[in-house]
């Protein structure tokens, strides 16, 4: 995990007990987490009385750096040991590392949900309904006498742009092919879990 110089500078300033005493550090950290995960606390983000004695530019720089770092950590899904190693490298002392790690643990779930909601996913199939038909003749062929399947896949997604179901028709070989492929997929999933 690489961090830009901006973030590193902010963190070095944050680690300095001369600029930020432990109370201010805890407040800033909580403000950073809140500003990422909770949109309601925006107006009074850095207006706490415990932070008033710090230079506003320093405060804002460190706030931005902390928020960026938290997002990067959530993106790489770091565990507690990597986190504390990195913070030690930035010369944080032990109790600040503890505070950071506990806050991160507490907010890890919501952070992952936030980061996971950025992106696109394929629709999720929940149900299948099928109908077997028997084709007797078409306009191109006088005698068909072939069975066919009309399959409807019920899809569940919250993206309102696409349709709620996918329908298609296929003949028996194609359906067998599809079922075979589905079986292959589930078998490879089983194999992957056994590694």
């Amino acid at each position: 995990m690489e961090l830009s110089e901006y973030v590193q500078r902010g963190f070095q300033r944050l680690a300095d007990p001369g600029s930020f005493d432990s109370n201010a550090f805890a407040l800033l950290l909580r403000a950073a987490f809140q500003s990422l995960l909770d949109a309601r606390a925006d107006e009074a983000a850095l207006d706490h009385p415990g932070l008033k004695h710090i230079d506003p530019v320093v405060l804002k720089h460190c706030h931005a750096a902390a928020a960026t770092y938290i997002l990067e950590a959530g993106k790489h899904r770091v565990d507690r040991s990597t986190l504390s190693t990195y913070l030690e490298d930035c010369k944080f002392d032990q109790d600040r590392i503890e505070i950071f790690c506990t806050e991160y643990q507490n907010n890890k779930n919501s952070l992952e949900i936030l980061l996971g909601s950025i992106g696109r996913s394929l629709p999720h199939i929940t149900d299948v309904s099928w109908r077997l038909e028997y084709q007797i003749k078409t306009n191109q062929l006088h005698k068909m006498y072939q069975p066919g399947y009309l399959v409807t896949l019920n899809v569940e997604n919250s993206d309102s742009q696409s349709y709620p179901e996918i329908s298609f028709s296929c003949n028996m070989e194609q359906l067998q092919d599809l079922v075979g492929k589905l079986k292959d997929a589930s078998k490879s999933l089983e194999r992957a879990t056994q590694l």
């Binding site: 690489e2 961090l3 830009s4 110089e5 901006y6 973030v7 500078r9 902010g10 300033r13 950073a32 500003s35 990422l36 995960l37 949109a39 925006d42 983000a45 850095l46 230079d55 506003p56 530019v57 320093v58 405060l59 804002k60 720089h61 706030h63 931005a64 928020a67 960026t68 997002l71 990067e72 993106k75 779930n109 919501s110 992952e112 949900i113 936030l114 980061l115 996971g116 909601s117 950025i118 992106g119 696109r120 996913s121 629709p123 999720h124 569940e156 997604n157 919250s158 993206d159 999933l189 992957a192 879990t193 056994q194 590694l195």
Partner: protein, 627 residues
């Protein structure tokens, strides 16, 4: 026995035999199970042999017989020491079966070695992590969409997802000064995360900004590449930036060469056609190029060329008029400028040639001057000497004597001074040598200590590497240990094995003690019986001698004989009882083993099978006769 059976059944199951779970001991193995187990083991041990045998017991008696014979043959080929026949498979007895299955189980390739050979590389760890994640997700039950927690929503597909959209953020800098700092400190600039109202867009913008910062850091060394900073992913490495620099150099060189082509001023040679093309294609971007040229350090010329360079970009910039006119005008100007340049170059050359000749002249004149000064000095000295001699000439003899005195005294003084100098020189030289030696020693010491320190550094670094590597291996092994199955606990088995070994040792000691006791007893018995015989013989003789004369002695002799007879009978009976008891014990053991062999039931089965075989033979014969 049960434990051993359980382990055996476990290994048979691993070889592929479908042993039903209620079968716990070998006693409960049926014929079909035996055949299946043996065939599957054979298949694992030697696939060529085992693939020809079916693991299902055929219903026909003759086929069964053939299968059992082939199995017996295969097992004996593998090296089973005892004789095998069809009866071991069709009518198994427990001890024989145990021996056979243990023999086959030993021959099974151990798959513990396969697990230990798994590469602990990064890709293996990654795949295992993927596998464990998939397992966790598969284990989650399907929850109806309205009841899902946000995490389940993400996993089971009903989470609201938005595509990545970013907003440019304005970030305050610690090192800003003056007006920007005031702006950043004021309430006009919101803290960076709050500049974007929606949470998802906020996170996306922060991540994008961070990536941009990382790119800027990489590309800061390349001049003129600030246009390319807005890449979303990491800038590819040094090669691209070096290529961009080279491109920029080429453009500069071409531009220079185009402006001063007769002079051949620029040291890099470029194709004129390329140059003109590049020049023609870059008319629009030339104004920024001009400023970059003025800032670049790649110039070998001073301000005069720069003025010309800044003039030339004005030429195409002013060409907003119709193109043909401007091109003609440009070409005319170019021609005139070229002529001017040619003339200027010519004059510069002439002036340079003049300068060269003048320089050469100057040098010659200087050397002559120096030579003449030297000769003047010499002549002055000769003149002085001769004038002094001329002065002293009138008072010839006295002056000569005075001069001699002076010469002698000065010689003496020289000698005196030389001796004083010697006196001073010797101790100073000694001290100098001493100090030199000290310094050498100290250098040696310091270089040795330096080498030691470097070695220590190396060892520290190596130890740190080792420690890190071992920690990684430890972490991997701990995670592997957690995933290992816990049903077979080796610790219990090893403890039990050690207990059993201790018990066996104790029993062996007891047996040796008992054997030695028995030997002692036997020796005692022998000695006592020997003593008895000798005593009886002596007594017998004694009494017999007196028995001829005395009646009472004769009666005593008769009693003695009877006593001896009865006692020896008693002893005999006791010995017989002992042997009979031993025989009883042996027979009981034999009965037990024979009972274990289930001979009676096997015999019944054999009779049935024999009858079935005869029937099959008869039916086959009849069919042959019909056909």
């Amino acid at each position: 026995m049960e434990e051993a059976d359980r382990i055996l059944i476990h290994s048979l199951r691993q070889a592929g035999t479908a042993v039903p779970p209620e079968v716990q001991t070998l006693r409960a193995f049926t014929t079909e199970l035996v055949v299946e187990a043996v065939v599957r083991c054979l298949r694992v041990i030697s696939p060529t042999v085992g693939s020809g045998l079916s693991h299902l017991l055929p219903p026909a008696m003759s086929a069964r017989f053939r299968l059992a014979m082939s199995l017996a043959q295969a097992c004996m080929d593998l090296g089973y020491p005892l004789e095998l026949g069809y009866q071991n498979f069709l009518y198994p007895s427990e001890p024989d079966l145990r021996d056979l299955l243990l023999f086959l189980a030993e021959r099974l390739p151990t798959d513990a070695s396969e697990d230990a050979d798994q590469p602990a590389g990064d890709s293996a760890i990654f795949l295992r992590a993927i596998g464990s994640q998939i397992r966790e997700q598969l284990a989650l039950p399907w929850v109806p969409p309205l009841l899902r927690t946000p995490k389940l929503q993400h996993l089971q597909g009903s989470a609201l997802q938005q595509s990545l959209r970013c907003t440019r953020l304005v970030l305050p800098e610690l090192s800003s000064k003056g007006e920007p700092r005031e702006f950043q400190a004021s309430a006009l600039l919101l803290p960076a995360p709050t500049q974007v109202p929606q949470l998802v867009r906020r996170a996306a913008s922060l991540l994008e900004q961070h990536a941009v910062q990382l790119c800027q850091h990489v590309s800061r060394d390349c001049p003129g590449d600030e246009d390319r900073v807005c890449w979303a992913h990491r800038v590819p490495s040094q090669e691209d930036s070096r290529a961009a620099q080279q491109r920029l150099h080429k453009q500069l060189a071409e531009h220079l060469r185009q402006s001063w082509s007769p002079l051949g001023a620029s040291t890099q040679v470029r194709d004129l056609g390329d140059m003109l093309q590049a020049w023609g294609a870059r008319k629009k971007t030339s104004t920024p190029k001009g400023s970059r040229f003025t800032h670049s350090e790649k110039f070998t010329f001073q301000l005069e060329p720069q003025a010309q360079v800044t003039q030339i970009p004005d030429v195409p910039v002013t060409s907003q008029k119709p193109e043909q006119d401007t091109r003609a005008a440009q070409e005319q100007e170019l021609e005139s400028l070229r002529e001017q340049l040619a003339s200027v170059n010519h004059s510069i050359e002439e002036v340079e040639a003049d300068m060269k000749t003048l320089g050469i002249n100057l040098m010659q004149v200087e050397t002559e001057c120096r030579q003449s000064e030297l000769s003047v000095a010499e002549q002055e000295q000769a003149l002085r000497l001769k004038s002094r001699a001329v002065e002293l000439l009138p008072d010839g003899a006295a002056n000569l004597a005075k001069l001699q005195l002076v010469v002698e005294s000065s010689a003496q003084r020289v000698i005196h001074l030389a001796s004083q100098w010697e006196k001073h020189r010797v101790p100073l030289l000694a001290e100098y040598r001493h100090l030199r030696k000290l310094q050498d020693c100290r250098e040696l010491e310091s270089s040795r200590r330096l080498a030691e320190i470097q070695e220590l550094h190396q060892s520290v670094r190596a130890a740190a590497e080792e420690a890190r590597r071992k920690e990684e291996v430890y972490k991997q092994l701990v995670s592997e240990l957690e995933t290992l199955p816990k049903d077979v606990s080796r610790l219990a088995y090893t403890q039990r094995i050690l207990e059993i070994v201790g018990n066996i040792r104790k029993q062996k000691e007891e047996i040796t003690k008992i054997l030695s006791d028995t030997k002692e007893l036997q020796k005692e018995i022998n000695s006592l019986s020997g003593k008895l015989d000798r005593t009886f013989a002596v007594t017998d003789e004694l009494v017999f001698k007196d028995a001829k004369k005395d009646d009472a002695v004769r009666k005593a002799y008769k009693y003695l004989a009877a006593l001896h007879e009865n006692c020896s009978q008693l002893i005999q009976t006791i010995e017989d009882t002992g042997t009979i008891m031993r025989e009883i014990r042996d027979l009981e053991e034999q009965i037990e083993t024979e009972m274990g062999k289930k001979t009676l039931s096997n015999l019944e089965k054999i009779c049935e099978d024999y009858r079935a075989l005869r029937q099959e033979n008869a039916s086959l014969l009849s069919r042959v006769r019909e056909a």
